[in-house]
Structure formats: C-alpha cells, structure tokens
C-alpha cells in the first residue's frame, strides 16, 4: 500500500524559477521569498518520498487550445522540460512512473473521473518551478520520479473547486490501493491571488489569501464550496488556479500538521504562497 507522506502547495510563477536560474535569490527584491522557503526545503530534504504526484497546469507550452482537457494524467517514462520561447530552464528532465500513472488512471476512471491520457508531454514552468521550490539544487536528477496531473485553469469553465476536492479524495483512495509499498509526496500548485490582464491587472487580495492559507489546512470543505465566480472575483482571473491546491489537500488525511507556510508579495505580478503539510502527524493529534 502506498502512503502520502506530505503535501506541498506552492506558487509556480516563472520569475521564481528565473531568479534561481540566474543566481538572484539573494537580491533585495527576492531574498525574503527564498529565505521563507528554507524551513520547508530543509524538512523536505529529510523526508524524500519514493514518488511524487504534481498537480499543475500548462501555459501554452506542452498543450495548446486545440484540445482543452479538464483533467489529464501523464503516463510516460520521461517528460522533457519545455522550451517556452526563451530557451529551456537549466533543470533536469523529469522521470515518470508509468506503473503508478496507469494504476491511478484506472482507479480514478472507476470513480468517475475520466482523465485525458498524455503519453507524451513537455512540462513547463507550471511543473518545474514547484520542483525547484522543493529542490533548489537537483544536480542531474530530481529527487524521485514524478507523475503529472493536469488541470485546465486557463479556459473557462474550469472545473469547480468542489470537483477538484473530490478528485483529490479519489486520488487519495487510488494511492492507498496501490500494491507497491511506496511513499508519496503530492504537490498542489499555482496561486495565490493574481490577475494578469484587464483594468484589475496587478490586483492582490492578501485577506483572501490568508483565509485560503488557513482553510486549506483546517477546513478545505469551506474552500471547496467557493464558486468559480467567487474565486475569480476574490483571487483574480488567474488566482482561480488555487483550485489545484484542493486536489492535493483532498488526497491527504482529514487532519494534517502544518510544517511551514510562507507568503510573499510580489513575485512578478503575483502573491506567492507556500504551505507544507505532514500527512503522518495528524492522526494521533
């Protein structure tokens, strides 16, 4: 039986990756963000899982608007890092875990989540920046194989928050029913509040973000009840991508222990958030 040992929620802003790739993490405008990551990174370095599942969205790099899958899963042995138009990030390609992918796919389809299957997929900053937040210096390889789980957050109608939370719960059951004894880390990515276009571009809603950060730990059902309209109004047209945090949270135990969280404004045009939860400490509390 496989076991989720931790969940990491983090923003995926491309400039966070760029700051790392260019050695600017100690620049005055970035230092507080990266210093805030440090306790999470240290804990994660001591809790390496056998495999990870990364819930993310593509940004016009691995997939285009010909086909807009609401939910998808990668089943490949390898995922190349995409060239987004300015050269690929200098980070390792991603090793996958096709056996786990196909197990999750079957169990999730059995539960009514009809995922689109990606046998080939180039992963963009939405995927590699969260890996870098976790592991700043991967060397030749990321710490473990990673399975991509894709969510459409770019084209309305995005899946509802409730559906994402339910998918996460089904994902948790699918992981628990895997016949290999492996430990699993799960990453929910995107957010926090931000909007890139329109007269409201640059909006940040720190109050909403603080509520979300608290509730993702203690009361995710409250977040699952938010409508798309509420999410777009409160968190911005791109802030709605925080629904991906709910997939991560749904796959975890009802009670989790917060290891560390951090909030920083701005990463480019975005409020950057990080929250790390230990899934094994909550049961006896």
């Amino acid at each position: 039986m496989a076991e989720v040992i931790w969940g990491l929620a983090t923003s995926h802003v491309p400039s966070i990756g760029a700051a790392m790739d260019r050695g600017r993490t100690q620049d005055p405008n970035w230092k507080a963000l990266f210093d805030g990551y440090q306790p999470a990174r240290e804990w994660l370095a001591g809790h390496k899982p056998d495999v990870a599942i990364l819930v993310y969205n593509d940004h016009a790099n691995g997939i285009d608007l010909d086909i807009v899958p609401t939910f998808g899963i990668g089943t490949a042995e390898r995922y190349d890092v995409a060239d987004e138009g300015f050269g690929r990030r200098p980070v390792p390609d991603v090793v996958g875990d096709p056996d786990l992918s196909l197990h999750l796919l079957e169990k999730l389809v059995d539960e009514g989540f009809d995922l689109t299957v990606f046998q080939e997929l180039a992963v963009d900053h939405g995927f590699t920046v969260p890996l870098s937040v976790w592991t700043p210096d991967p060397g030749d390889a990321w710490p473990c194989p990673v399975v991509p789980l894709l969510v459409n957050v770019i084209q309305y109608p995005q899946p509802t928050a409730a559906r994402c939370y339910a998918l996460g719960q089904a994902l948790g059951r699918a992981i628990a029913s895997y016949d290999k004894d492996v430990t699993v880390g799960i990453l929910g990515t995107g957010g926090m509040s931000h909007q890139l276009a329109g007269a409201r571009a640059g909006m940040i809603n720190a109050e909403f973000d603080a509520m979300f950060m608290e509730a993702i730990e203690k009361d995710p059902a409250k977040l699952a009840a938010l409508s798309r309209e509420e999410l777009i109004r409160e968190a911005g047209s791109e802030g709605i991508e925080m629904i991906m945090w709910l997939i991560m949270r749904g796959a975890m135990n009802e009670r989790v222990r917060k290891v560390h969280s951090h909030y920083f404004v701005p990463a480019s045009n975005t409020a950057a958030g990080l929250a790390l939860f230990d899934n094994r400490a909550g049961q006896t509390a």
Partner: protein
Amino acid sequence: MLTDIPGTPVFDGQTSRRGFRMNKLFMSLRFAANRERFLADEGAYCDEFGLTPEQRAAVTGRDWQAMIDLGGSIFYVYKLAMMDGLSMQYLGGVFTGMTEQEFVAAMRAGGRSGG
C-alpha cells in the same frame, strides 16, 4: 454564464473561439525559426494563420489591449511580448494605464487593490 466582474476579462469558450487562430500564431512563436519568419513579414505570417483584419492590425501594431479584446489569452499573447523583450509587468502597465516602472512599484507596495 459568469456575471461580469469589472476590469476582469475572462477567457471563456466564446473568447477562445474568437481568438483561436491568433492564439495559434502566438503559440508558434515558441520556435526560433517561426520568430524569424514572423519578423521577416509580420502581415504575411498573420495571413498564413488566418487572422481577421482586426486581429492582424492588433498584432502588427502591438495593440496589446486589442489582442485581449479580440480573443487573445494572456498566456499566448505573452509569447509575442517575450519575443519583443517585454515583461508581464510592462503588459500590466499597458492594461492599467501605467508605465512599467509604476506598475512594478505598485506591485512592490503590496499589489493593487482587488476592488
């Protein structure tokens, strides 16, 4: 249907239908060979992708707001901005009537108000 949220373009299905050919053009700019071909004759490249006259004028005239209004997704429009060496903060300034420096300063001051 989503009710209108002031100042907030929502990239929905109808918008995506309107912008489909233009967004395909933006997507193609990920590749250096296509960027070279685009820069050699922008109008011809737009025609090749089947843009409407309004979209063609917005792209060749770098009217960023019009590209959004005519169905561009910000993530796709950004490919063209990147090619021009422009940042998302520059675009944020365009959308809000500020210079890039003013927009960056507003973000560093905690971001713009959500209301």
